[in-house]
């Protein structure tokens, strides 16, 4: 009664809700979406095929991102011009990512050294996940190291940030975050890359976009989160539709996770208030590296 069949795998609904609770707790605690942990977890722990894990994870993100989106709009965080430039390009990226996932899923399997079939789509996606998580972990640890030397300011964007100095014309100004000029072309390609990751991996894209906005453009954390959330909201909706058309969305999986994550995010947010910023950053980096470790073990196991 409490088990459902997902592409031939018996999946426990209470276990999915418990995973949702844990992911929501992490998301609420660290102020991230949590999709970067959810998709690999669905694939590693429940053996749900990667395309369905990607589609269902994106679908449940619609529910979790509505609240964050409305809240950040209420407080006018972020720069709508960035969303405007990135959004159109990111929608092309979502379509490209979904198609790429279908191509990888149709590529089938190859035989490991012991003659065991290894899924090409799972292996490729796990490798991309590991690379992105390592990137995010190194950015976070770098921020920890820097703030240990000098406390970070909550002020506005710095004009010496690398992506503000570098780029091709034409340029636009970002008045809400006090940046005099940024290249629209570079920004549009970043939007495309975010959409591509979203369609391919089932993540909102925040785990890749936020470091770019904070460390690349010098946004404050709140402005980066406020800017990213609109883009995330639009890409998860388009991504869910694209995946639903390819029968990659399992609504039962999405709803079971959503039920847990809605409660977990509230608990996580309350815990945040009792933990220092530095401790939060370090535990976030540990979480990212732990996920990379779990992915690495799975890759080694499937290849050996």
């Amino acid at each position: 009664m409490w088990h459902i069949d997902v592409a031939g795998q018996a999946v426990s609904l209470p276990a999915l809700t418990a995973v949702g609770l844990a992911i929501g707790f992490v998301a609420g605690m660290f102020g991230v979406g949590g999709g970067f942990i959810l998709t690999p977890l669905l694939s590693l722990s429940f053996k749900i095929p990667m395309p369905i894990a990607v589609g269902s994870a994106l679908c449940q993100k619609i529910g979790t991102s509505i609240g964050s989106f409305l809240k950040h709009r209420q407080y006018q965080h972020g720069e709508l011009r960035v969303d405007f430039v990135m959004l159109g390009a990111s929608l092309f990226g979502v379509d490209a990512g979904t198609r790429l996932l279908t191509i990888l899923a149709n590529a089938g399997t190859f035989l490991s050294a012991r003659g065991k079939p290894v899924s090409i789509v799972t292996l490729t996606l796990e490798a991309i996940y590991a690379a992105i998580l390592l990137f995010a972990a190194s950015m976070t640890l770098n921020a920890v190291r820097k703030s240990a030397r000098a406390p970070a300011s909550e002020g506005h964007a710095s004009s010496v940030a690398p992506l503000v100095r570098w780029g091709f014309p034409p340029y636009i100004a970002l008045p809400e975050v006090e940046i005099p000029k940024v290249s629209v072309i570079v920004m549009a390609y970043i939007g495309f890359a975010t959409g591509l990751l979203s369609g391919l991996l089932g993540i909102g894209g925040g785990v890749a976009l936020l470091p770019v906005l904070i460390y690349g453009y010098g946004f404050s954390i709140k402005d980066a989160a406020g800017t990213g959330i609109l883009l995330l909201f639009a890409t998860v909706i388009v991504g869910t539709v694209e995946h639903a058309l390819r029968h990659n969305v399992d609504l039962r999986v999405a709803l079971a996770i959503l039920a847990g994550s809605s409660v977990g995010s509230q608990l996580g947010a309350r815990t945040t208030a009792r933990v220092s910023n530095q401790a939060l950053r370090i535990s976030f980096a540990v979480l990212l590296l732990g996920t990379v470790g779990a992915i690495g073990i799975d890759v080694v196991r499937s290849l050996s």
Partner: protein, 50 residues
């Protein structure tokens, strides 16, 4: 094969075209209404994480 080449080319060019379009639109808006930073309401620390 031709379809794939055309699709990949469209993916490479689409962000460029979109970027130029948004630049033109932003410039047109700026000419009509020069931008000025708005005063934002303060957000309680706890709410930021929710």
């Amino acid at each position: 094969m031709l379809g794939t080449v055309l699709y990949v080319s469209a993916c490479v060019l689409a962000p460029l075209a979109w970027g130029l379009l948004t630049w033109a639109v932003t410039r047109a808006i700026e000419k009509r209404r020069p931008p000025k930073p708005t005063k934002k309401p303060a957000m309680p620390e706890l709410e930021y994480y929710l």
